[in-house]
Symmetry: C6
Subunit: 210 residues, 6 copies
């Protein structure tokens, strides 16, 4: 039974990828909006770097509110709670940045992200997608967990060259340079104007061949 | 004299299960709502993981307010205090997640949970019930304490196969995959619409035979 | 000169019992209400467990406001300051729980507790009175300090069997299972309805004979 | 040149006594009221016990507001700043409790305390004055610094028996059991009714003879 | 591909310079304004000195609001978030002070700073630009990253004497004594009056010859 | 080039003196007022004693608001930011107390303090100026930096006896006992009434002869 079947569906939940000593694993980023204005809640034994990454994700998401038609009250009258199960496993690093950003935007727009999609990549506050480690293991683990579509930093494309053949075959791998590209993929329907220019569209840029 | 006799009745109190070096024990999660808006109070020498688990329980409970007819003011004008006696014994881990969630919902709906029921399981923010450790010891301890009905994570069902015969005989064991299943069991009367679909109903899914 | 003569009289002051390496001692819990809404003040070098015990005492006391006719403003417009002299002596443990709860209720109702009364016992958030240690030493110390009436957890009654004869003779020992029993003893005059049922009444249940 | 000449005069400044490895010393407690409502400011490298002592002093002072005609706004619209020079010398212990209480009341009533007076004693929240250490050294140091009048805990009177003759001769020593006695000595003019009963009056109870 | 191509354009982003054991590197300071009034957000694993430097940058920027026509609400109704990628790399020191100040002013005025410009220098609260270390390595790294224009503290001009010829050739190096000089360079168009006096103007003070 | 030339002019900036293992140095205390009411900002790697000293300086300055015609809003609607460059150098001790107090008062009154003046001295909350260490080194360093006028604690006058002749010759040294004397020197023009009595006036009390 593939692990992704365990994920719940609905806005606010996005699948990321983690490197562990036992191989790559999928990791679920869950978010909810709680009425209130006290701050920002992070749970799941997140380390300092990952907490800052979540904070950066939230600020970036807020900076795109207007573009995506998210009412300002969404962020001012709610506290965003991000949880990364399992609750007892320490986690750290910046590589869930784009996953957390996407989860917050999914929550804020009400648009779910398919459970067969996984992503990994550091986000900068201006929305650049920066390279991360453990790509090979993460993609092998993603396939085992039933994932079919991957988004990763363009600078990590080189790390996909030596993937096992069955991983290359089963995963559609999309490199991205900016978070705005991901926004156009998943949240175009929320954008005030239709996306234009060099947007990544679903399935259009498989780079599995390296 | 069975230990459950010691538990007080009434909304906000739910029995959990703890693994200790001396065997499984029941553990009472107590909650009250105090007028105020300063936050969330946790006592009982809870460790970091258990505190985050309580925080996740609270956010999940808030996310189900509407479904259960809980007025928004319940959470915005009260502080929720969760206490796990005894006050001097350090406790940690995510396994009281569904117990704390159920206690908060019992408090918020005013619907008590029977004192012969005990439960164990990690909760995720989206309401998945994740597997925990020490199931065998916890269930032996639950029976000794006078418990007759157990709710545990579906993924832990395999751990009930080798239970002593008298434990299998005396306990009705209900596996759950989501917190929403538990909500339908205990708080259906608070739901705006009658529960439907594949809800777990009391006694209907004894898995004591493994 | 018995030590209890040193205690001041008036609402908000209740005598507890402490175990020390040099034997049992009385300990005075003092409380005042300060106009303000910033929180809860604890002084007297209290350790973490005792601080949580005080927090539990406060929440329990607030949960009984209505029953005792305490106006909601008492807790929302005052800060409760609890001090346990001497200021330089570290103190810890949950055993002053019922003493602190009684002190807060005495303060809130304006009803003093006699200076010849002492008490010891952990309180749970739902008002159960849980057993504590050092009963024998505490009761010997209480008698030396001029105490004549003791309230302790029902589960500690067994610890009073081997008390010296003069202690059994001089102390009226009352076991209690719940904080509500103590409320009926000391604060019945504040209750909206007369207390009924199996309430402990002063002097009626001396268990000095063990 | 006696050290007390260095103290400034005016409301809010009271002389205490400190034990140091080099003998007893006078110590000046200075206080000012700053418009604001954020809290309570303590400076002078005060240790935890001394900070709690200051907090107890403040709460006690507030509890006597009505008696002394101090308007409630004095405490709700000001922050009280207490400083104990020198700023680089760590200080701790509860023995400046009555000095800090007297300084706050002097500040709040606008009534100065004579610079030839010094005091030492722990304060409890209910206003008991508890015994402290180092009395002999403190009184020798007080005399050297030009102090002529001492207030100390009644329970410390025994420590004055073996004082050098010139100290007994030069100091008027007043034992006090409660802070309310000190209030009657220094702030009687602020009290709504004239003080009555067994109040200590200046010079009336010299216990220099032991 | 020069690294500066990776930087995003737009207000709030300015390129700084870092010394690392592997040589000088460009470092991007990114800033956004988030509606809110809770404070100031810093991410990117910044050490204590760098956090204070950011705080000083913010206060200085606020002190120049009037001059630059920045409405007071910009700072009172927004939280400024400053992020320095990469998120997992610890960074410290005061040398990004003028870079962070310029980033905040770029954000507040809406005027972008060219991506071919880099700067390094400590800022004082009054706007002095103080010397920093690692100038030689930073400038070599800047050139490698595609930078063409450098601003540095006047007191660091002596450190540019022994730069390799190609660095001197490719970089226009501008010494500055105060932050106000930099303001005149980049934000003159926002100033209420035209800049006058000895302002540094773009390209006018190349000190590449040492 | 004398170091004082580097200091900026204008209200809020005052020159202090620091002892370092390499000799005495001038140190610039810079302050600005930022709209807001959240508190008090200190930067420059200040240690605990120096932070408390700054806090004492602020409270003292506030206590003199009325005398100096500073509107109450200046302190209630602004946050005072005090910075002591260089940002990476740890600093501690109480000896910049009068320098920080003077800087705050200069900022609040809008009256600058000449850049040829330097001062050193601990301040108490009531405005006494207490003696500090390192006077000889500090004054030698002050002269080297171009300072011509020094204010120091009266109790430190004895430390100026053995100064090198050229230091005695080049520096006008003014002893002060209270901060109010310094206020009369620098801020007399802001005082509601003309200063009277034994005020120190500029140049009138040179103690360079020891
Ligand atoms: Ca796997
Ligand atoms: Ca990831
Ligand atoms: Ca058991
Ligand atoms: Ca459990
Ligand atoms: Ca005793
Ligand atoms: Ca007790
Ligand atoms: Ca002395
Ligand atoms: Ca004292
Ligand atoms: Ca490089
Ligand atoms: Ca830099
Ligand atoms: Ca020098
Ligand atoms: Ca100084």
């Amino acid at each position: 039974e593939p692990e992704t079947r365990l994920r719940k569906s609905g806005p606010g939940i996005v699948t990321g990828l983690a490197w562990t000593p036992n191989g790559g694993e999928v990791l679920f980023v869950e978010s909810v909006a709680i009425p209130g204005s006290k701050g920002f809640i992070l749970t799941g034994q997140l380390g300092d770097v990952m907490k800052e990454s979540a904070r950066t994700a939230l600020s970036f998401a807020q900076s795109r509110s207007k573009t995506l038609g998210i009412p300002p009250e969404f962020f001012s009258k709610n506290e965003i709670h991000i949880h990364v199960p399992g609750g007892a496993i320490p986690k750290d690093g910046p590589s869930a940045g784009i996953t957390m950003t996407t989860a917050i935007l999914s929550l804020a727009t009400g648009i779910p992200v398919p459970s067969t999609v996984a992503m990994t990549g550091e986000i900068s506050l201006s929305g650049r997608v920066l390279p991360v480690g453990g790509i090979k293991e993460k993609l092998i683990g993603a396939r085992e967990a039933g994932i079919t579509t991957i988004y990763l930093p363009a600078k990590n494309l080189k790390d996909t060259v030596e993937l096992p053949d069955e991983v290359k075959r089963d995963l559609a791998i999309h490199p991205v340079e900016t978070m705005d590209e991901l926004i156009r993929v998943f949240f175009a329907s929320a954008m005030k104007e239709a996306p234009k220019g060099r947007g990544v569209t679903k399935g259009s840029r498989s780079s599995g061949k390296g």
